[in-house]
């Protein structure tokens, strides 16, 4: 990677390159986890008093793999990361990182890993260069090795700012320095705990670019936690979806999405008292003919809207009952006032969905057709959408006084 030292460069390269690099350079033939896995967890559990923050998680990450751990704030991502990084002892179960046991061989684990913590653990009174030098010394690097490594990680940094106090850095600059510091000792395995939470899109793109580069050019094993769907989708070879301390599903992002179906039709039912007026709104868009054509809907086109109408759980249940029997609908689920219809052919199915709802006198707010996302997978698994908490960067404090989310 050439030097990305100015914000505009980062923006152009980040926004332009990241999606293509991620997709084209992601190796489908990444080694499947096996006995030589970089990270292996078995029944990993952590309690905080009565709270079961992590509950029996099994996972394996192959060498050179980017493993994305996706879940909302409080799901248990940080607790698992802190256990794997030796900052927290498991209540039950165990894990090896780099072939070393995280409890019995914690010192060896620390030598093998680099960690970027969620809270951005920097010292504002140091300059960027001082922080990197100290970090290198803590890992036993000689003065020459430290200077060589600073030079090597400098593309990640804003080199012009490296001799400025960290307290003057922007959030994005701090995050990149944090990543550089975690790489100073040339680790084999990198843990990134929500590396882009709270960052602006430019800085986020720059971090994505670096993660992609570490993975594609240097074969580093990366364990990435995130609450951003698009981040897991773009960066990870495999994604683990975690919620309430449980690993709900695991697989390649596309595999996970295929669980839902090829397409998803999302019907939002109007709240309040419904009736013919609501349905009339749908018909007003053009009736069944108007929404039936493929060109009329697009991949995420809104095809019907009612001005007012009714809803409630009874209405949702009726809508589910109506749609479950529909040809082409492979799965129908209710989530609040939404009903999702999984289907192999969204373009062909959306029209019958609209007609069926209209025929059942159900008040529709809107209907949309789109490809499944990891949020749909999460919704399917947990019954909830992922709600991003942009302020989660500092993490909470658990009973032990250590960060927790």
């Amino acid at each position: 990677m050439g030097g990305t030292t100015d914000g505009a460069g980062v923006l152009r390269r980040g926004l332009d390159i990241v999606p293509t690099v991620m997709s084209s350079q992601r190796s489908p033939e990444v080694d499947r986890p096996n006995g030589d896995a970089s990270i292996v967890a078995r029944g990993l559990t952590r309690h905080f008093g009565e709270v079961r923050a992590v509950d029996g998680v099994d996972l394996e990450v192959a060498p050179g793999e980017v493993y994305g751990f996706l879940g909302p704030n409080g799901a248990g991502k940080t607790t698992i990361t802190r256990m794997l990084c030796t900052l927290l002892r498991p209540s039950a179960g165990g894990a090896t990182v780099g072939g070393f046991d995280i409890v019995r061989e914690a010192g060896q684990v620390r030598l093998a890993i680099g960690v970027t913590l969620q809270e951005g653990a920097l010292d504002d009174k140091l300059t960027g260069r001082e922080l990197l030098r100290l970090q290198g010394r803590f890992y036993g690097l000689t003065r020459g090795e430290v200077e060589r490594r600073i030079s090597e990680v400098s593309p990640i940094l804003d080199v012009a700012a490296i001799d400025r106090r960290i307290g003057t850095y922007s959030g994005g600059m701090k995050r990149r320095l944090d990543v550089a510091a975690s790489l100073i000792h040339n680790p084999r395995i990198l843990f990134l705990d929500e590396p882009t939470t709270g960052l602006d899109p430019v800085s986020r793109a720059a971090v994505w670019e670096q993660v992609a580069r570490l993975r594609s050019e240097f074969g580093m094993t990366i364990f990435l936690t995130t609450q951003y769907l698009e981040e897991a989708d773009a960066l990870a070879d495999r994604v683990g979806i975690i919620d309430e301390g449980l690993l709900r599903a695991e697989g390649h992002p596309e595999e996970l999405k295929r669980r839902i179906g090829t397409d998803v039709i999302v019907v939002r039912l109007a709240e309040g008292i419904g009736g013919a007026e609501g349905i009339g709104g749908v018909e007003g868009v053009g009736g069944a003919e108007g929404v039936g054509g493929a060109e009329g809907v697009g991949s995420d086109g809104e095809v019907g809207r009612s001005g007012d109408g009714g809803g409630g759980q009874g209405t949702v249940a009726r809508a589910v009952a109506v749609l479950e029997g529909l040809p082409g609908a492979s799965g129908v689920e209710a989530h609040g006032h939404e009903v999702t219809v999984a289907t192999e052919d969204g373009a062909a199915t959306i029209s019958p969905v609209a007609v069926a709802l209209s025929g059942a006198d159900l008040p529709v707010m809107d209907i949309a057709l789109r490809r499944p996302t990891l949020d749909d997978v999460f919704l399917d698994l947990t019954g909830r959408h992922i709600v991003v908490d942009e302020d989660a960067g500092g993490g909470g404090e658990d009973a032990t006084g250590r960060g927790e989310s």
Partner: protein
């Protein structure tokens, strides 16, 4: 020093992060770089180095600790030296008060507020993720503490000498005086460090000065012990700081092995308690 390299254990399969030369690179300029465990003294020096380079950037927290005792010393001498002349305390009041001024200067001075900010901001976790020796995380702070204690105590001592205080024990007495004050300052640091590590709360560390008042002022601070009466005399007799102040006063008059022995015992006793608390808190904080 024991040096354990992760590359040695794992066959040198460095993944090679940016520009590392990648796998299989050779030659001295491209030898794989990897983390090593270096041992206690290396780590102590590294942690101490960081603490020291931060000192000039934290003068706003250090300078007030110099102003307050100088102010107290000047005001106390100005207000009481004529009264003290009637009390036959065996010393000029400016010499009598100098040990108290020094004890006030150094007691409670530490880098605990910097440590608690490391804990709160996450930098302490960054240190815990490295192979750094755990004891050095606290002992390294003592390096900076020693510098600060000397930085603060020497001007106060110089003020006393400038006002005419003379040590009958000569230069050796002055050096002993400074050494005892510095060791006392270090011994006491265990309390604020223990609070910093236990609580991770800067406010709690700032409030640790509350311990300072009874320890320093329930002593023969303004009058000799035999001039104290009632409950204050009883408490002063049991207060270890009494014997630190008295031992320091004897250095102005002449060598007194018994008094200095009591001083060292008092410093050692309080130091043992405070450092036990600090290192227990460190162990708790660094145990996963």
């Amino acid at each position: 020093m024991s040096e354990t390299s992760i590359r040695e254990r794992t066959g040198g399969s460095g993944s090679g992060s940016p520009g590392s030369g990648g796998r299989g690179s050779s030659g001295p300029d491209h030898a794989p770089i990897g983390a090593r465990q270096m041992g206690f003294w290396h780590d102590l020096f590294a942690v101490g180095h960081r603490a020291v380079i931060l000192l000039p950037r934290d003068m706003a927290a250090i300078i007030p600790a110099l102003i307050v005792p100088i102010f107290f010393y000047a005001v106390t001498i100005g207000a009481l030296q004529d009264v003290a002349a009637f009390a036959n305390i065996g010393l000029e009041y400016k010499a009598f008060q100098l040990p108290l001024a020094l004890v006030m200067t150094v007691t409670g001075i530490s880098r605990a507020h910097a440590l608690v900010l490391d804990v709160q901001g996450g930098y302490f976790d960054r240190l815990l993720l490295t192979p750094v020796n755990r004891w050095s995380l606290l002992l390294g702070m003592f390096v900076a503490d020693t510098i600060v204690l000397l930085f603060l105590s020497l001007p106060v001592l110089a003020l006393g000498l400038g006002l005419g205080v003379r040590f009958a024990t000569g230069a050796a007495g002055i050096i002993t005086f400074v050494a005892i004050i510095t060791v006392w300052g270090l011994a006491y640091t265990g309390f604020p460090y223990a609070i910093a590590l236990r609580t991770g709360n800067p406010t709690a560390v700032n409030n640790s000065f509350l311990l300072f008042f009874p320890l320093v002022f329930l002593t023969p601070a303004w009058m000799p012990r035999d001039a104290l009466t009632g409950w204050l005399a009883a408490i002063a007799t049991w207060n270890p700081v009494t014997y630190i102040i008295e031992g320091l006063r004897t250095l102005v008059i002449g060598w007194d092995g018994v008094a200095l022995g009591k001083t060292l015992a008092a410093v050692g006793g309080i130091g043992a308690v405070s450092q036990y608390l600090a290192f227990s808190a460190l162990k708790r904080r660094t145990t996963p």
